[in-house]
Amino acid sequence: MHIVVCIKQVPDSAQIRVHPVTNTIMRQGVPAIVNPYDLFALEEALRLKDKFGGRVTVLCMGPPQAEDSLRKCVSFGADDAILVTDRAFAGADTLATSYALASAVKQIGKEQAVDMVFTGKQTVDGDTAQVGPGIAKRLGLQLLTYVSRIVEVDLEGRSITIERRAEGGVQVLKTALPCLITMLENTNTMRFASMPAMIHAARTQVRKWNKDQAGIEDVEKIGLKGSPTVVSKVFGPTPRNEKAEMLLVEESSLRDVSLNLIQRLFTRHPIIEQELLERQSA
């Protein structure tokens, strides 16, 4: 079984700062990390490899320093790491990115056929959740988004059964391989790399592909040229006027505190009370 996991290097959103004047993200000095959602995808892929054997390839499009993120994935157990990096990719939106990554997956497939592609459910810097579906569409893969559990993989029958989060419940889906899975967060816990794995990762040469090596056929579809998205304005959210208040619990019963809380909520947001009453009468 050959699994490709697509990852992205993102600025650590826990440490991000917004420029007080321009409202743009100050990336300088903010550490770059593997998009946290992608780690759930990687771990799930590694678990399948542990179970069925085979190979996990991590794929990333980004600047040369994204190599560090790929090496980290190798320390967790990925067998191969490919960085698609070229100035021609600069300024790509999700459409151009999914085109470039799909081409690269196709190239990887020439070396060894790909059974599954994994991505995180979205990135923490873009938050669009569009690249995964984009790749699936371009490669004609079965698309399984927001997957919370892989129930069964039948390699001989070329099928997979998964659970996915849906509004108001869980869907169980069965489909054919090859497929693309975007993995939901908190569905597994990333393993802790061993010391030999850390040393192996530090020694690993990450393969770097330019646009030709990545099999890009149409240069009009990559980078800024291939990106119809336009950012028209960047602004910070207006701070809320409402202040938090503390309810004293010590001297009153839980029931009193709850009633107090509900009363305050209704006073502040009459719409909640209204909706609740409507629902009750309906």
Binding site: R17, P20, V21, Q28, G29, P31, F192, A193, S194, M195, P196, M198, I199, A202, R203
Partner: protein
Amino acid sequence: MKEKFDVIVVGAGPAGNAAAYVAAKGGLSVLQIERGEYPGSKNVQGAILYSDALEKIIPDFRDEAPLERHIIEQRQWVLNDDSFIGAHFRSDAFNKGPANRYTIIRAQFDKWFASKVREAGALQICETTVQHLIKDGEQVVGVQCDREHGDVYADVVILADGVNSVLARKAGFHGEIEAQNVALAVKEILFMPEEVIQERFNIGENEGVVIEMLGTITDGLMGTGFLYTNKESLTIGVGCMLSDFKASEKRTSPYVMLEKMKQHPSIAPLIAGGEMKEYCAHLIPEGGYRAVPKVAGNGWMIVGDSGGFVNAMHREGSNLAMTTGRMAAELVIEAKAAGRQMTEATLKEYTRRLKDSFVMKDLHKYRNMPGIFHHNKQFFTEYPDLLTGAARHMLTVDGVDKKTKEKQVMSSFRKTRTLPGLFGDAFKVWRSVR
């Protein structure tokens, strides 16, 4: 598979990076292990970079290193609660030729330095803590990390794990750190547009100012404050001996001290409008000469803060760290080439070379300094008031003749410190810096 290297360096601060870089450049196989998420993520310093020590390791560092501003002006301030009296030195000569001092932001600088270490050929592993040294009899032969199959071996282990060197303590190379030998410093980085900084401090692009402060800002504790200009931010901080914080009757906390210092009428206008970007605290080994432990033994050497190599008097530390790191690595390269075993007999040459270098010479020169200030708190309480009071008195024109004014100033000094006290203080300071 048993992994074995020529050298294992524990830590990726200035000392560890210097050691790993020099060793790797010298053709040795090097494994560097860092506890933080990335090199620099846990490292804290003022921070001033002294070029000389780094030049000896990476001569053309200025081409690539993330430097903030080169220092063209130094201000020494003695403050009481409402004034300061100071000496400033500014020279355009600092603008000519390669600069000697720069402000830096360590998270960025260390990341760069560590990338040079990797380029030089060392293997670097982060997010990994060395828990123990592995010994074969008396000889240190490797380290045990907090990961599965965490034992890694080397001919020599260089400890660059910082002020709180837990490893050296666990291995019994030195005892518990004593509170009177470390300072606790806190600092904030305040964001400020480049142009505002340049206007406020009367400097041009890339030019920087350093303000070193002493006085009642430390609430009677032994310590100093500082303010540095970075490219787009100011660094402001204050530090005092940990033992003083412990003994403080008012239970002064470091952050309260810093908050008060930021409100000082001489400082507040300089930092007004600055938006806090980060705050941090760190211990600084300031025990000086007498607190330096044994730094070389069978299969191990200690470099940087872990060895207490800080010249508190001149606020030098990272340069001593880089120098000790370089010297340790150089010795390993030589010993390896000569086919010598990394025993104490071989490695004690490191201690000898340190003695001949500015590192130990400077520490020796100020060996009595910590003691003097410890037992003479008047330098942080009475003198600032006396000095600023004298200046204010002499500069107030009020019909009193100058001779009388001089007498009044002298008598204020005599009344507070007594004549023998004044001479005694002068003698103590002179003896400790001579």
